[in-house]
């Protein structure tokens, strides 16, 4: 799937967000063609998570618009955006800590089955648990689905976080640093998850692991201080003078800290 030809599934125009004096998203105009795997990279505090929060409705912009599949979703509440087909994972693990792993997945599965239906419409319980079991069985590391999610070790919680986002089966998946805090093997696992997924979905992800990003992304957007400073294929971005050397050095450092 080559980029640029497909219609943009997601588009932002002049998107603006500031926290007091800090400009987190500085007039960002961004387009994402359907079916692409895009990485959004940039140093810590560049505004990647804030951008995700704007896209999903967790935060409201002070200016600009957001379009999804041609629809203006700027003022739509978060849950309606999910129903339209935007799913996300969080950088900082954000689960239901006292529910079991299985129940966590169940909530997401239930949501995906309900998505196009009415609020209280009965979704067959068997269907929910069948789908849940199907998802759970894909991951060997889940040994005890009846364990409370809060009791999992951090890398497992992080993986569960990604699983929840995927269980929604959204058309557009936003993954906020899926590899942060997980070890080398898991990065392979997550890469596989994303590769399987990307066959019929659009993916936008942020990550500090530059090797992972270079491998998985079709195109890369670089953000710094709330602004998009470069965009292109992985090799284009790597050789872009605006994305200076020391910045890439920083990323490699990051990668070593995370994987240690």
């Amino acid at each position: 799937m080559s980029a640029g030809q497909a219609t943009p599934i997601l588009e932002t125009r002049d998107l603006l967000l500031h926290f007091g004096g800090v400009v987190a998203t500085d007039h960002v105009s961004f387009g994402l063609p359907e079916g692409q795997v895009r990485a959004l990279i940039g140093p810590n505090g560049a505004g990647k998570t804030s951008f995700f929060n704007l896209l999903t409705g967790v935060l409201r912009p002070q200016g600009g618009r957001i379009f999804f599949k041609g629809r203006d979703i700027t003022h739509m509440p978060p849950y309606r955006r999910v129903k339209l087909g935007i799913g996300r994972s969080f950088q900082v693990v954000n689960l239901f800590p006292e529910l079991t792993v299985k129940e966590n997945v169940q909530i997401a599965v239930q949501a995906s089955l309900k998505q196009k239906n009415h609020l209280f419409e009965r979704v067959e319980r068997q269907e929910i648990s069948r789908r849940t079991d199907e998802i759970l069985s894909q991951y060997e590391w889940i040994r005890d689905p009846d364990q409370e999610a809060g009791a999992l070790i951090y890398p497992e919680q992080k993986k569960l976080e990604t699983i929840l986002a995927l269980a929604l089966e959204p058309e557009l998946v936003l993954l906020d640093e899926p590899t942060a805090g997980v070890d080398e093997n898991d990065i392979g696992l997550i890469t596989d998850m994303i590769n399987t997924l990307s066959q019929n979905r659009t993916i936008l992800l942020t990550d500090h692991d530059i090797k992972f990003v270079m491998k998985i992304a079709q195109r890369i957007t670089v953000m710094d201080q709330g602004r998009i400073i470069s965009e292109g294929t992985p090799s284009e971005v790597a050789s872009d003078p605006r994305v200076d050397e020391c910045y890439f050095g920083g990323l490699v450092e990051c990668q070593t800290t995370y994987s240690s």
């Binding site: 999903t56 849950y79 800590p97 529910l99 949501a111 929910i128």
Partner: protein, 320 residues
């Protein structure tokens, strides 16, 4: 989730004891047991809202008291139609509708502010009941002298105003309520309720609008609270303004927390503890001094049994 075998045994034994206790033939004991069971139903209703959905209500007295007045309207003051099934249905329906209405309004606010809206509603309703501007609650006197035909349930006939008959009815109802609420909290809908309690933000990001679910939790809680209120009317043969006193709502909150929010069985146990402690302390200590025992009990349980009598963290799995 299923019950652990040991716990099933315990529960079975407890039910057996409750079934056999009337054989002792002590009317006052029956009265206290019935009252405990009624508060047990009420506490489970509260637990559904607070323990599972994480919503705090400071005005639950209205869901207990107003359905009682609805019964009074059906049987005495307005329709004069003392059919027991209609009366009970009216009470539960009132609880359900009132729960949805108050739930709808109060969930505009969140957290402690939401709880305060329930409190303001409770105060307004209590004052209205006392003031009786439309002549249906009979003010401070309340509604006395209810009559209702015996309730016939598939061959069984229960005289609702006889101690033992009502006791067995309420025992049956609390078991039924427990099974229904337990099935509810373990259903997909229950998962969403628990999700609201634990992480509402995440629920939004999974595509749920939490508000209708919150309203539903209020409505369901109100319905079971209304059932409890209805049974209290039969037990006391009166409908008095103290049923809508916000202190009743406060007491059920205390009972739920003492028993262990989110355990269902814990709050029932706490209801027994409080009703019996209150009654025995009152009869042994004159002049209102039983309050020392109750106050001390509240303090002691919180101090020494964190998470309630049925310590949520450790035993929740086994007990839900």
């Amino acid at each position: 989730m299923s019950l652990s075998p040991r716990f099933r045994l315990l529960l079975g034994a407890a039910i057996l004891v409750l079934v056999l206790l009337p054989l002792l033939g002590q009317p006052y004991l029956i009265y206290l047991l019935t009252m405990s069971l009624i508060f047990g139903i009420f506490a489970m209703a509260y637990d559904l809202l607070y323990g599972f959905t994480g919503l705090v209500s400071f005005g639950h007295s209205v869901f207990y008291g107003l359905p009682a007045y609805a019964m009074g309207m059906v049987a005495v003051t307005v329709f004069k139609y003392p059919n027991p099934l209609v009366m009970i249905a009216a009470a539960m329906l009132t609880g359900l509708v009132l729960g949805c209405l108050i739930g709808f309004v109060c969930t505009f606010a969140r957290g402690i502010y939401m709880a305060l809206v329930t409190f303001a509603f409770a105060q307004i309703i209590e004052l209205l009941v006392l003031h009786d501007p439309w002549g249906i609650t009979q003010g401070e006197n309340g509604i006395m002298g209810l009559r209702a035909a015996p309730l016939s349930l598939g061959g069984l006939t229960v005289d609702l105003f006889s101690g033992v008959g009502l006791y067995y009815l309420v025992l049956g109802l609390i078991i039924a309520s427990y099974l229904v609420i337990r099935a509810l909290v373990n259903s997909p809908l229950g998962d969403v309720f628990k999700g609201i309690k634990q992480n509402e933000e995440r629920l939004l990001s999974l595509g749920y609008n939490p508000r209708p679910y919150k309203v539903a939790a209020f409505g369901l809680s109100g319905m079971f609270a209304g059932l409890a209120g209805a049974m209290a009317v039969f037990l006391n043969n009166s409908i008095v303004p103290s049923m809508v006193d916000w202190a009743v709502g406060a007491e059920i909150l205390l009972i739920t927390i003492m028993g262990g929010a989110g355990t269902l069985i814990g709050p029932i146990a706490a209801a027994f503890l409080i009703i019996f402690a209150e009654s025995y302390a009152a009869s042994y200590l004159g002049g209102g001094n039983w309050v020392y025992v109750m106050g001390g009990l509240y303090i002691a349980v919180v101090m020494f049994l964190p998470g309630g009598i049925f310590r949520t963290r450790y035993l929740k799995k086994a007990f839900v």
